[in-house]
């Protein structure tokens, strides 16, 4: 049996516990079997090997031919790492394997072995990758090695009959839906970068492809390190009823050193050394070296601090690059998270020259020979002409906004070592082996579509994988530029954290449903049942059950005397509290209370209780007194902590009161408000209005300068004096109605109810019982547990049912309503059209087509209308398109709205307006004139978008047009078909469709 497990002492993933030794034949029903053998284990290079077997799998004795052709299908000129030879053993045994390792570890070896093996056995093999550019590169790589290789992406098709086909995953999926002969001939399917499955938008494509893959095919999954590789393999084993091996390794051929570079400072601090040890002391030092941003002159633009620097000084990034070059840490890749930032940073390097004359000449030759395929007009594009001087100095930029051809030139130059310093976005971190010695993160925050967030440790691992060239560098360097916004714990998490889990991002689409319904054996429910999402959900159930059991036991073990009356009391208390809160909300709405927040007023503040569970169970609150110093408006929401409630987020009040100040180990101060009599420092704290309990009518005169400790101490003394003077009758408070002029009916009502409640408390039978407080605490806990159980039950109910079941029903309803399928799920004419459209919103486009909109308009208008389907970026100052186009766009939006409304009525969750505005008219004009025959530089003058983005948009439109041609053919509308074909010929020209340099 090929189930061998190798384990080194310290490198095994923590979630894996080795099963006991077992003879494989004894437990055929056991899902996981593995034998542990201790081969020659080199501590650094070790890998973990495990196998997932499907349930009830009866192991077929290994075919005898393994020995016969023991000669490997491919021999490598170097000794294989253990994980590579482990994986190749599985391939030789004819079983699927999932290889999970770092980008630089050499997973390609496994893929190319699988290809060699299939070619030897006259079988076909498919290699899928998530990105077109990557497919092109891989195609070239394999073509050189194996020659019988073809390529299929949305843009190009080369030798579709070759034995080894490189394609994008989307193409493979649609081939499976169409039942291409490939599905009967392919023996091995290689999914590269399979961790893309967690991609929100496209991840579902991987799931579909894997579920629908032919039953007799075997798989090779190549993925970045994922902690739950086992789970994934279990899923594959279950869906395809075949064993699936996992080879996991944390091994990096070149070890990494992680440094911090505090902004404003000028030095590197080693925080993780090449052995993976975290150095606490230098981590502290690095944080201490941070120059606080607010001391800078340009503190308002703290984000830009990195690039601006102080006047007259070099920017941080310049200093950094200079240092890297001096220490000979080049070549270096500097990652940032937006295209604009990337270019901006590159501009900072204007003074730097990293290439000697020879290299300059080389660069220029390579550059122009690549640009040769462009027309003269295109060579004059600003992006082309501006790039060369930069490249000649050894500085490059790489992001998706570049012309594809430029991007490829830069990749080639980088591989040739002619670019010493490359500014890149995240996309550079996946795919082909393009390592550097050093990787710099210019920023640690990333915009992920909704908001800025910290880089996850998985992303960090992926990108830092580019550091360290195998065989050249003895270690890779990884530099993190941090500013004050970074919490130490976050930084630590990022640098030392584990890889991201591989979680399903499954969702339904109409195209998927229709394609499934169209085939005789197809059944969308079947797809759902077999999805990784469902698998993960099913897995969670036993865990949830266990949790619930524990909680239930805990709840049952709590016994309380007089529970009923206590509960009654408890609910009264809850009511009382919520009423109190209502009153406070009214009084302390900024409208009423702002005039009274003058400096010097004594206020009653609630103490900070660090522990949420100790909610006070009496009518008394835990309060203390302080003096208002100031109040201010909070400037923006975005910088706010999440735990501030929205209604008071606008104002905060500075209060001088007694505080306990403590420092934790990371030198972060925590300030707690404590009762005034307790020992502590007098300090000014900023609290949200909601933390103020009462305003007194007393005002003190406070010292102007509160910075000296004495002044503060004195002021607090005065406060205590006032308090003791009024100790008998209590401090006079501002009366809400008389003083603060609160005029609101609801206020009076609530106050009356509070009074009523208070009298109830007095009379209550348990109120006088001595241990009331403890008892209430116990009851409170019990209530909380009950609530938790309820929550778990709910999530269990939703997982035990088929995931997406309701959504599936709703979406089917939509299809029926719009006439795409009949009541018996037979796909109608409209449905067949929508089946063909997979690169744009299928419903809206189909509706447009059937409403005859596409029929009447001119070809240029048609093309520019389609541009709304592919363009998603929002442009700030995009001008409105001309009237005809605008009318078309309105028509499109109307259709989108109707479609969205139908969906809403059928209970699909959708926001009509945001759906309608997801179609962007921003590049309509540009595309219009492109279809008219304008030169590319001319259309670039019309719009503000990046060249590369526009090209990608137009290429995708061509894809849609091809799909529309098929659709028109299926309804027999010849004129429309001819029109679409015309449109294709109009847009498919020049630089936009210039062939990739890799082909």
């Amino acid at each position: 049996m090929g189930s061998v497990k190798r384990k080194s002492v310290d490198e095994s993933p923590s979630n894996y516990t080795p099963p006991p030794h077992k003879q494989p034949k004894d437990n055929n029903n056991n899902e996981n079997r593995s034998i542990i053998t201790n081969g020659e284990v080199d501590a650094g290079v070790a890998c973990v090997h495990d196998v997932s077997y499907p349930e009830n799998y009866v192991a077929v004795p290994r075919r005898s031919n393994v020995e016969e052709d023991s000669k490997p299908a491919k021999e490598f000129p170097f000794t294989l790492d253990p994980f590579q030879s482990e994986a190749i053993n599985c391939l030789n045994a004819g079983e699927s394997v999932m290889v999970s390792a770092h980008t630089s570890a050499g997973k390609t070896v496994v893929a190319s072995y699988a290809i060699a093996m299939s070619l030897r056995d006259k079988q076909r093999v498919i290699y899928t990758s998530p990105i077109k550019a990557l497919s092109n590169q891989k195609y070239r790589e394999f073509k050189e090695e194996f020659s019988d290789v073809g390529l299929m992406t949305g843009d190009v098709t080369i030798e579709p009959n070759a034995s080894c086909l490189v394609m994008t995953t989307e193409i493979w999926r649609s081939m499976q839906y169409k039942g291409s002969e490939l599905t009967r001939e392919v023996a091995w399917i290689i999914f590269d970068e399979v961790h893309y499955m967690r991609d929100r938008e496209r991840g579902v494509v991987w799931e579909e492809s894997i579920v629908m893959a032919p039953k007799n095919a075997r798989f090779v999954f190549l993925s970045a390190t994922v902690p739950n590789a086992k789970e994934f393999a279990d899923w594959v084993a279950k869906v395809h009823q075949q064993p699936c091996h996992i080879v996991y390794t944390d091994y990096r051929p070149t070890p990494l050193q992680h440094y911090l570079f505090p902004t404003g400072g000028d030095g590197l601090y080693l925080v993780v050394d090449e052995k993976g040890k975290f150095r606490e002391d230098s981590f502290q030092k690095a944080l201490n070296a941070l120059v606080p941003t607010n001391e800078k002159k340009d503190s308002g633009k703290w984000q830009k601090g990195l690039v601006n620097g102080r006047a007259g000084e070099d920017s941080d990034i310049f200093k950094m690059v200079k240092m890297i070059i001096q220490r000979q840490y080049d070549p270096v890749i500097i990652f940032s998270f937006s295209k604009r930032e990337c270019e901006f940073l590159a501009m900072q390097m204007a003074k730097m020259d990293l290439n000697d004359d020879d290299e300059k000449v080389n660069t220029e030759t390579i550059f122009w020979s690549a640009m040769d395929m462009l027309s003269d007009d295109d060579k004059k594009l600003p992006q082309v002409s501006n790039m060369l001087p930069l490249l000649k100095r050894g500085i490059g930029v790489h992001h998706s906004g570049l012309l594809p051809i430029l991007k490829e030139v830069i990749e080639i130059l980088f591989q040739e070592g002619l670019i010493k310093c490359l500014f890149a976005t995240e996309t550079f971190s996946i795919g082909l082996n393009m390592p550097a010695k050093t990787v710099v993160f210019s920023n640690v925050r990333k915009f992920d579509g909704d908001k800025f967030r910290w880089l996850s440790s998985g992303e960090y691992i992926q990108m830092s994988g580019r550091a360290g060239r195998r065989g050249i560098d003895d270690r890779g360097v990884c530099i993190l530029m941090v500013d004050e916004k970074l919490e130490p714990s976050t930084a630590k998490m990022m640098v030392k954290g584990s890889a991201d889990c591989l979680n399903s991002a499954f969702h339904l689409s109409y195209n998927m449903l229709l394609n499934q319904l169209r085939c005789e054996d197809g059944d969308p429910e079947n797809l759902l049942r077999n999805s990784f999402y469902q698998f993960q959900a099913d897995r969670a159930i036993p865990d949830l059950e266990r949790q619930m059991k524990v909680l239930q036991e805990e709840r049952d073990s709590i016994h309380i005397e007089e529970e009923d009356s206590l509960e009654n009391y408890y609910s009264l208390l809850q009511q009382y509290k919520s009423l109190k809160k209502d009153v406070r909300d009214i009084i302390f709405s900024p409208r009423y209370c702002l005039p009274f927040l003058q400096p010097g007023r004594l206020v009653c503040v609630r103490c900070t209780n660090n522990d949420e569970s100790t909610v006070a169970f009496s009518t008394e609150d835990h309060v203390t007194w302080g003096v208002i110093v100031n109040f201010q408006r909070v400037k923006s929401f975005s910088e706010d902590d999440a735990d501030k409630s929205p209604e008071d987020a606008n104002y905060t009040v500075d209060i001088l009161t007694r505080c306990a100040v403590s420092k934790d180990e990371l030198s972060k101060k925590t300030i707690k408000i404590i009762p005034i009599k307790e020992p502590g420092e007098p300090a000014v704290v900023t609290v949200p209005i909601s933390q103020i309990d009462n305003l007194s009518s007393v005002r003190l005169i406070i010292a102007k300068d509160l910075l000296p400790l004495e002044n503060r101490e004195n002021t607090l003394k005065k406060v205590s004096e006032v308090l003791s003077r009024f100790s008998k009758q209590g401090l006079p408070l501002l009366d809400p109605e008389e003083d603060m002029k609160v005029q609101s009916g609801s206020y009076r009502k609530t106050v009356r109810r509070i009074e009523a409640l208070e009298s109830l408390f007095e009379k209550h039978e348990v109120a006088k019982s001595p241990l009331i407080e403890q008892k209430l605490k116990v009851l409170h806990k019990k209530k909380q547990i009950t609530a938790q159980i309820k929550l778990i039950k709910k999530s269990m109910r939703s997982t035990s049912a088929l995931a997406f079941k309701d959504e599936l029903k709703a979406r089917k309803r939509v299809l029926r309503r719009l006439g795409y399928v009949t009541r018996d799920d037979v796909v109608e004419l409209k449905g067949k059209v929508a089946c063909e459209i997979s690169s744009a919103d299928e419903l809206v486009l189909t509706e447009l087509m059937f409403n005859g909109v596409l029929k009447d308009i001119k070809i240029e208008e048609l093309v520019s209308l389609l541009s709304c389907f592919v363009w998603q970026e929002k442009l700030q100052d995009a001008q409105k398109p001309r009237e005809e186009l605008d009318m078309l766009f309105t028509q499109l939006q109307d259709t989108a709205r109707t479609v969205a409304k139908v969906q809403l009525e059928c209970k699909v969750e959708i926001d009509v307006e945001s759906f309608a505005s997801s179609f962007r008219p921003d590049i309509m004009e540009a595309v219009y004139s492109w279809a008219k025959g304008s030169k590319f530089y001319e259309i670039m003058e019309i719009t503000q978008v990046f060249e590369g983005s526009l090209i990608r948009g137009i290429r995708r439109m061509e894809e849609i047009l091809q799909q529309l041609i098929l659709a028109a053919k299926s309804i027999g509308e010849v004129e429309l078909e001819a029109k679409f074909e015309d449109a294709v010929s109009k847009i498919k020209r020049d630089i936009v469709f210039a062939a990739s340099l890799y082909l």
Partner: protein
């Protein structure tokens, strides 16, 4: 109802007439208006972009029908659905066809389409179930998979550029059909359904309603899923055996019992009756007719007689009137 030649006696004629009349009155009126013959102009509102689908063309500013049939409209799309014409394939249809030629790497099939359909060798699962490229040897052995005159079930995969049709056999349940009979009826009588394969357990019969109007009624065959790869030696030995000659045992294995044969014929005849009357063929209706015939204690051959035909017409009229009444 054209071409129906039944030896009806007077009362039967009257009963049939009555049944048919009642059927006619039940059918929706709008449909009858929408039927066109070749060169009839189709009324459309020319102003807003009309999509002219199958069976239509533009002639002197008018949309004109190029075939006889019924006008169908979907939003702005107008097309003519033909009635008694050859089969018009759509991608994804299940069809039954007969092999007429074994050609290089492909079989040609008669499927009642205007052209022969093509089933590529690569669109078939190999008998050994192994995923691999087709070799020259496979090509030579094509006749061991299908020969001329074999009846095959397949799915419409794609149209080629020249308008010819590509078929495919997605899984094991497609392929050669044996031990049964194939009926040929007008394609319009077969409605597209989610399911075209039916296994009638009570009769032990497989029924395949091909969208092209070829209908297969045959003994039920268990689909063997050769998913788990057999050892390569196994199929070899089997092949050798079959090559020698079909042994007695194997003949017995392939023997169809009399009862099954009768069931096949009964169902086939039920379909025949329905076809002569021009009723659309669905599983429910077929089973109803079969039940009716057994209830009346009719022999299989009697099902084609005039009396039963009239009975079926009456029953169908009754059924439809009940269902329309229910709808109302």
């Amino acid at each position: 109802m054209r071409g129906m030649e039944l030896p009806l006696n007077h009362t039967q004629k009257l009963r049939l007439q009555k049944a048919l009349e009642s059927l006619e009155s039940l059918s929706s009126v709008t449909n009858s208006n929408a039927s066109v013959t070749v060169a009839d102009s189709i009324p459309v509102n020319q102003e807003d972009g009309v999509l002219k689908g199958h069976g239509t063309t533009e002639l002197e500013g008018e949309v004109v029908a190029t075939v006889c049939g019924v006008i169908e409209r979907v939003n702005k799309l107008v097309y003519v659905r033909t009635l008694r014409a050859r089969y018009k394939p759509e991608v994804g249809d299940i069809i039954v066809g007969r092999v007429i030629e074994v050609a290089p790497k492909r079989w040609r099939l008669e499927i009642n389409f205007s052209q022969d359909a093509v089933l590529m060798l690569s669109s078939m699962n190999l008998p050994d179930g192994i995923q691999r490229r087709r070799t020259a040897v496979d090509e030579l052995n094509m006749r061991s998979i299908f020969e001329e005159d074999d009846v095959i079930c397949a799915e419409v995969r794609d149209f080629m550029r020249d308008g010819s049709l590509q078929l495919q056999a997605r899984s094991q349940k497609y392929g050669k059909l044996e031990r049964g009979q194939m009926l040929t009826i007008s394609p319009y009588l077969v409605k597209r359904r989610k399911q075209h394969f039916h296994h009638l357990e009570q009769y032990g019969i497989d029924l395949i309603l091909g969208c092209n109007g070829f209908i297969w009624v045959g003994e039920h065959v268990e689909i063997k899923d050769n998913m788990i790869e057999d050892e390569p030696t196994k199929p070899d030995s089997k092949n050798k055996k079959s090559q020698i000659s079909t042994t007695l045992e194997e003949q017995e294995e392939t023997y169809t019992t009399l009862e099954t044969r009768q069931n096949i014929c009964r169902i086939a005849n039920a379909i025949r009756v329905l076809t002569t009357l021009g009723f659309s063929i669905t599983l429910d209706v077929i089973l109803e007719i079969v039940d009716l015939s057994t209830k009346k204690g009719l022999d299989i051959h009697e099902m084609l007689g005039a009396e039963f035909c009239v009975l079926v017409a009456e029953k169908e009229a009754e059924r439809r009137s009940v269902s329309t009444r229910r709808k109302r």
